[in-house]
Symmetry: C2
Subunit: 283 residues, 2 copies
């Protein structure tokens, strides 16, 4: 195996220690709500993970739940109440909304005060990101940027291929990495389901970020020797395990850096969310 | 010469005729303000051009000016007055603000009601663009998309290189062309001053959009035979003429389509601005 395997758990733990120290030093009690609509088991579990992580970082989490049938107006009303609550510094809405919800996610997210939008999903936050203005970036792409930075993988002037144009990851990441400034300034190609020759794009990339949501999207023969391959895929298999978008064992023989799944890019998301909450609380 | 030369003046005139018909059919009187801060001669001239174009399309323009020394609060106050005025459907602020202005452009633009933001430069509009939600897109990239569409240049599944990451053009265009949907769904590479090997990227592109603001950015030996080359550069020469970013005569021998400067992409901006104003007025 030639690639350096990136230990996302260790890096995420380091970020969380740093956030905990920032919170302690500031003597603050950042307040955090992950609004849960409905009771989808995976969502309940993920909200619980975030709440426990916030607690361990010295933050306070508030339990806010609405039934799956809550109207859009009821959800927005709950958000506006949190917007006004000075004890709450970070507000997010657990996505996806349940299938039976009559609410549109975009409309609901738009109600969050951009100053508390620690998930970076209001149009204002996304616009500030595109305009290189201060604001919260979504935690998952922020985690990828942070992984690259802490592994000292060169980004400036490099060719990056991002595979997947999702609102939560591929789109904002492509914007972040192509901006002027430290840790960015890359030439980014955004590939997606409409890309005809993915292999040709990946072949010349110094950094490949896979967030296509499809196993075997990146194979060994596609990757330039020495490239950094960041796998953000989490594809459940019938046996209950999870695989990424990258053929890990084979690509690791070619790449210079690679993230495993699980334990690579995944753990960074909660770490960067806590980072955003600490920032929202002025820590 | 092998390339088909795209007549931007003719296409813009056609768009303006269609907007004029939409306005007439709706029996509406769309109201439009291009707020002028200071009296920079180029800005005065450009505001005048837009006002006359609006008038010819059956719209009403209102003259709103502030001195170059107007404070940020005074400019925002003027914008909020226009936001409330039901006779005004489209509001824009002529950029750049004068050098002596104490106001920050981003703060001023952010005060525009997104429903009247016909220049697409509020963070909300930019965020909606990135999120593929309804909203106004900036007129210049909209003009490029419209040129491609009306010339029946295939975009879906094609490789596009955008050169320049400006807020007004390169950044939003890269987003628009890479979205899912008709007239888009391209694989877009955003190149910029940090790109190390521009020629290598341009060499494989089916469509090249140059908005670097530098003459000779795209030369004949860089371009893939048959590619579409859209030149959004307007670089003033010492003799008073203007050249684009593309070596027109030489690239025209290689490209499949090419826009001249002037008379290519440029005229589309005002046409698409009028399109946005008509939309804002419900036409």
């Amino acid at each position: 195996m030639s690639a350096q395997v990136i230990d996302g758990r260790a890096i995420a733990a380091q970020v969380r220690r740093e956030v905990t120290e920032r919170v302690a030093r500031a003597g603050a009690r950042p307040g955090f709500v992950d609004l849960l609509v409905g009771d989808d088991p995976a969502s309940v579990q993920y909200v619980g993970m975030k709440n426990r992580a916030a607690e361990r970082a010295g933050m306070v989490w508030f339990d806010r739940r609405l039934p799956a049938t809550a109207t859009e107006a009821e959800i927005i009303d709950a958000i506006e109440t949190m917007n006004r609550d000075p004890a709450i510094h970070g507000v997010l809405v657990q996505l996806p909304l349940p299938k039976e919800s009559p609410a549109k996610a975009f409309t609901v997210l738009s109600a969050i005060d951009p100053a508390k939008d620690v998930d970076g999903l209001t149009p204002t936050s996304q616009g500030c990101l595109a305009m290189s203005e201060p604001g919260f970036a979504p935690a998952t792409p922020l985690g990828v940027v942070e992984l690259l930075r802490r592994c000292e993988i060169p980004v400036d002037g490099k060719d990056v291929v991002v595979i997947g144009r999702s609102l939560l990851l591929g789109r904002p990441l492509s914007i972040m990495l192509s901006q002027k400034g430290a840790g960015a300034n890359a030439t980014v190609t955004l590939c997606h389901t409409g890309t005809v020759d993915l292999a040709a794009h990946v072949a010349t990339a110094d950094i490949v970020v896979a967030c296509a949501g499809r196993p075997h999207t990146v194979t060994a023969e596609m990757v330039k020797p020495g490239a950094a391959v960041i796998d953000c895929g989490t594809n459940p298999l019938p046996d209950g395990t999870t695989v990424g978008d990258v053929d890990f064992d084979e690509v690791a023989e070619v790449a210079g850096w690679i993230t495993p799944v699980p334990g690579g890019a995944g753990p960074m998301t909660i770490a960067m969310l806590l980072h955003n909450v600490a920032t929202a609380a002025g820590c």
